[in-house]
């Protein structure tokens, strides 16, 4: 399906249209949550536990309350009992969940655990008061190492759960594949470990709660990827009718998954909203964000592959363990199982087994981050390169032999997932071609003779986008063609940089056949837009396209009816282009959209009988169950300085297949952003704790984000395989963070291969590299 609506033009779709968001953001006129200022507004600050685990013996708030400018200090005793229901919409009320006391009750479970909430006239005073809250902690032994958390001697993070194993899921057991591995020509196995790192958006979390006792209405300004989820969650939490709650999000400074779900800190603000007779603002500072907003990626797996004599994969096995901290959001067992199920990737893998486990530890809870299951690609692609070296097959050749070909689709993978409309082999070939892979290998050989270590690394992955289950599976649009003929399109939104405003304006302009200057969008306000799940799961492109197509169709039919009636033409002969409706073949017989609107709104009795007046419509699109698969290949070259361990990235190439592109700028921007986050994760970023669970990286001086000086030019190749969804679009937001880490790791490993090192632990820091070089067997 490639056309959006009957006779739809594609004047803007596919073009590098300038963003509508830019005008305000370039001039400092964006409205982020910390920019909201309401009369009488007060400021909140949390008191947080310095201990990874401790009993709370008592909290003395008297000194804090005595400080001038302090309005209130809340503890668990004040607010926790007001919780009516606490569950995230994607999971439902019946599912298993970690108990989440908004403020810590008798025990703190990670360093950064919120213990008290101060409300004061300014953030400055609130921080002064927070320092005066006297919490009597009795430190307790903490469980920090997730790999030993299941031992009998380990303390329990949540006593009520009875175990530090949150849950386990698996596919075929390993025993079912013993024969395959035993008889395979080659078996390669390693344990691959990834460090904890996190989404780290440039803007931390935050919200302003504004309750009016007079009207009983609660308005929440939030930094969020899903305004409607915030509203629903809050409604259930407080037992307040949903229609009395309004959530407004104008601009949010990045989310990447960390701002999809309401966490305990935000719950506390919602709970105090009705207790404070003033609006209350909480803005998370950077230290809090690195301490308490959530960790991701901390996991490892023992992985194994069996190959025949030609290097064809016979079976794969993964035993995966994931550190989920003390308060994972959401319940992480299902996401962990996706790692197992996806491990075979876009390859021809006849048999696969997997086990997955999610573990509690006394560290900050796990939260979603761009491609939360990406470890399956990290582990698989790194192991493939290790296998290639051991079998003395070029890594590109090994992939060529095993990647799914076009003629094999649809393909049901060994774990029951059905892949279709993907092009993994084609993307790999395009990337290799863009690099001139053979040429690089020659350069590499020459460099080695001169004592320089160059390397090339690649990864190919497939990922699910546009989830077709539960509340993710629908999206609505309301389009109002105003009496003047200008167009407003209302979408739930949740853009935190994903350009959904521009996307929606482009799609609408084409769907209606109007000039893009005539289209405006309103998003992010639950009072104004239809319900929507928000920006997650790389769903926004496809879902908004579907919603706009359905809604625009209604309006085009009405416009056609009006114009046909006026000119006594056939409805099928009416075309819309450039904000003008005309009779096909006679362009002089036309009406501007403004003229059509005039008729629709002001001359209702001249309309064809039975036609609804006005030009406003709403419709909701439902995507099919399952996912829309997307794939890409990443290819990276590097040089490693073996005297210091420094890695310099030389070229970085991405060949992606996101189907037709709505806006190539947006597509490339998403790929680049995700890839650089992945590069950061491979080389620089590390959310670290000492062995007692004390956080070591709570500022940007210790948690290292890559800068412009650390990142090479990213080159893009595009392969286009339409999906079955609207416009043929696929999601593209998450892939960069999936494909980049393994490509970078493989490049470093390839560079160091002549020195006999195997890279299986991340991050690949200079120190890490020198340690590997120091350890290598002679």
């Amino acid at each position: 399906m490639t056309d959006l609506a009957k006779g739809g033009a594609t004047r803007y779709t596919g073009a590098r249209v300038s963003r509508v968001e830019d005008a305000r953001l370039l001039t400092g006129r964006g409205v982020f949550v910390d920019d909201i200022s309401l009369p009488g507004m007060l400021h909140a600050c949390f008191v947080r536990s310095p201990f990874p685990r401790a009993a709370i013996r008592g909290i003395d708030t008297s000194a804090a309350l005595a400080l001038p400018g302090v309005h209130a200090v809340f503890t668990a005793a004040d607010i926790n009992r007001d919780v009516k229901e606490q569950w995230h919409s994607s999971l439902g009320p019946e599912g298993p969940e970690t108990p989440r006391p908004p403020l810590a009750e008798d025990e703190v479970r990670f360093a950064g655990d919120p213990v008290a909430l101060v409300v004061a006239e300014s953030r400055y005073i609130a921080e002064d008061a927070a320092d005066l809250v006297d919490v009597d902690y009795e430190p307790l032994p903490a469980v920090v190492d997730y790999m030993s958390a299941e031992q009998d001697t380990a303390p329990l993070v949540h006593a009520g759960h009875g175990s530090n194993l949150i849950g386990a899921m698996g596919g075929l057991p390993a025993s079912a594949l013993e024969d395959v591995f035993a008889s395979a020509a080659h078996v390669v196995g390693e344990t691959i470990e990834q460090q904890a790192y996190a989404a780290v958006p440039m803007e931390g979390r935050g919200l302003v709660v504004d309750y009016s006792a007079t009207t009983g209405e609660l308005t929440i300004y939030a930094g969020t990827q899903s305004p409607h989820e915030v509203r629903m969650f809050c409604s259930r939490l407080l037992g307040m009718p949903e229609h009395l709650i309004r959530v407004v999000m104008r601009d949010t400074g990045g989310g990447f998954g960390q701002k999809i779900m309401v966490q305990r800190d935000e719950m506390c603000l919602m709970l105090v909203a009705r207790k404070v007779a003033a609006p209350v603002k909480w803005i998370e500072d950077r230290r809090e964000n690195l301490l308490a907003a959530g960790q991701s990626r901390h996991e490892q797996a023992a992985v194994k592959m069996a190959f025949d004599a030609d290097g064809l994969i016979q079976a794969v096995q993964i035993d995966f363990v994931s550190d989920c901290g003390a308060y994972p959001t959401p319940w992480p067992v299902g996401t962990a199982s996706v790692v197992g199920a996806m491990f075979p990737g876009p390859y021809r893998v006849p048999r696969a087994s997997f086990t997955t486990k999610a573990i509690y530890t006394n560290t900050v809870g796990r939260t979603p981050y761009r491609g939360p299951w990406q470890f399956e690609s990290v582990a698989r692609e790194v192991l493939l390169d290790i296998a290639a070296r051991r079998m003395e097959i070029d890594p590109a050749e090994l992939r060529r032999r095993n990647l799914l070909r076009h003629d094999e689709l649809p393909y049901t993978n060994a774990n029951g997932m059905v892949f279709d409309n993907i092009s993994p082999l084609e993307t790999l070939e395009q990337a290799l071609d863009m690099l001139d892979y053979e040429g690089f290998r020659r350069d590499q050989a020459l460099a080695r003779q001169a004592g320089r270590y160059l390397g090339v690394g690649m990864s190919t992955y497939v990922e699910p986008s546009t989830p077709g289950f539960g509340y993710y599976a629908t999206e609505a649009a309301t389009i109002r063609i105003e009496p003047s003929g200008k167009v407003n399109v209302y979408i739930a939104g949740g853009s935190t940089g994903n350009s959904i405003e521009t996307t929606v304006v482009q799609l609408t302009a084409d769907a209606l056949g109007v000039d893009i200057e005539d289209v405006h969008t309103v998003q992010g306000d639950t009072a104004l837009t239809g319900f929507g799940a928000g920006a997650a799961g790389s769903r926004s492109g496809s879902m908004t396209a579907g919603a706009i197509r359905e809604t625009a169709t209604i309006l085009r039919e009405r416009i056609a009816a009006i114009v046909a009636h006026k000119f006594e033409a056939a409805v099928e002969d009416i075309e819309m282009a450039g904000s003008r409706a005309s009779v096909r073949g006679t362009p002089s017989i036309s009406m501007t959209l403004q003229e059509v609107a005039r008729v629709a709104y002001f001359e209702p009795h001249s309309l064809p009988p039975g036609l609804q007046a006005g030009l406003e419509a709403s419709a909701r699109y439902t995507t099919k169950p399952g996912s829309i698969w997307v794939n890409a290949s990443h290819l990276c070259t590097c040089e490693v300085d073996v005297t210091t361990g420094r890695v310099e990235l030389l070229r970085y190439i991405v060949s992606e297949d996101c189907g037709p592109m709505i806006n190539p700028n947006v597509v490339e921007g998403q790929i680049a952003g995700g890839a650089v986050q992945g590069i950061g994760g491979a080389l620089y970023e590390h959310l670290a704790w000492d062995e007692d669970g004390n956080p070591l990286t709570t500022t940007f001086m210790d948690y290292l984000l890559p800068t412009a000086a650390d990142i090479p030019l990213i080159e893009y190749g595009h392969v286009e395989t339409p999906s079955p969804g609207p416009g043929g679009y696929k999601g593209v937001g998450e892939g960069g963070a999936i494909g980049a880490p393994p490509a970078v790791i493989n490049a470093v490993a390839d560079a160091l291969a002549p020195l006999g090192v195997t890279v299986t632990r991340l991050p690949v820091s200079p120190f890490g590299i020198m340690s590997l070089l120091g350890e290598k067997p002679r």
């Binding site: 953030r123 400055y124 005297t643 070591l696 001086m701 820091s765 200079p766």
Partner: protein
């Protein structure tokens, strides 16, 4: 992340500043560029009752030759130091260290005096001052005091300045003759604090013999260090006889309190330090030979 409250003082002369410091003692802290101090205040790692802002004291700014040395006022910004033709010709080591300090936005506020008084062992200016045997000129209500660089740094973020003393300026000896200078540091990212680095100056005689060599080590101790053994081994040798890697090895061989953290063990830092010394040696000795 907001600092605690403090009383703010903005003296316009050195004497005024000295009087305030004498009065407030340990409760007071000098505020120069603030690029190191303000983050600590924001994180509440440091709390002071009084901040004495020396940014308005004109006597503290300036760069001038005095008695064969180059005097740089403590309040001179790093940008001004880096842009100064006088510094480039008289104390090349200072000029070459400057672009490595943080980022240009930091250098626009950060001062030479602030960096030296803050005494971060991984910073560039302290190592340069130590390498060149600079003299720190302190002032208090009790009068001026000159402190040799080797007596100035006594621990991480710790100097021999008394609580009531203010660093007014630093005098850097000017090297003449066939000299070469280089600063090499290893950082995770451009502008980060050094994991290990070297600030090196070398002077040759007409026969290419090493007359003197000064090697200041960055990030390899609780203070900047002088690689005295390596320096001693170099003096009198022919420059071409020296193997750079050997120079590097010697420079780090006896270091005892090399820091360690997430980004590297002590051994790793030493190893990288040796590499940085070797590279600095190559660059500086090449320049000296051509002089």
């Amino acid at each position: 992340m907001k600092p605690t409250q403090f009383d703010y003082h903005a003296p316009s002369t050195i004497n005024e500043a000295a009087l305030i410091l004498a009065e407030r003692g340990e409760n007071a802290k000098v505020l120069a560029g603030g690029q190191s101090l303000i983050p600590m205040l924001a994180l509440r790692l440091a709390v002071f009752e009084d901040l004495v802002d020396i940014g308005r004291i004109g006597e503290l700014k300036g760069i001038e030759r005095r008695n064969g040395s180059l005097w740089v006022g403590a309040g001179t910004t790093e940008t001004a130091v880096g842009a100064s033709a006088e510094v480039a010709s008289a104390v090349p080591l200072l000029a070459r260290a400057t672009p490595l300090i943080g980022h240009f936005q930091i250098r626009n506020r950060g001062t030479l005096g602030g960096s030296i008084a803050h005494a971060d062992p991984a910073a560039e200016y302290p190592a340069v001052a130590l390498a060149l045997d600079a003299t720190m000129e302190a002032v208090s209500s009790r009068g001026p005091r000159s402190i040799a660089a080797r007596d100035f740094f006594d621990g991480v973020w710790s100097t021999s300045l008394m609580p009531d003393e203010l660093l007014a300026g630093v005098s850097f000896p000017v090297w003449a003759g066939r000299c070469g200078f280089a600063v090499e540091e290893f950082t995770r990212r451009h502008g980060d604090f050094a994991i290990a680095g070297a600030a090196l100056g070398v002077e040759l005689d007409g026969d290419d013999r090493i007359l003197r060599c000064a090697i200041g080590l960055i990030g390899l101790g609780s203070t900047p260090e002088r690689a005295v053994r390596a320096e001693a081994a170099l003096v009198g040798q022919l420059v071409n006889d020296m193997d750079p890697e050997e120079v590097g090895r010697l420079a780090v061989a006896n270091l005892e309190s090399v820091p360690y953290d997430l980004h590297g063990s002590s051994e790793y830092r030493k190893q990288v330090g040796g590499v940085m010394v070797a590279r600095a040696w190559v660059a500086a000795s090449t320049e000296a030979r051509r002089a």
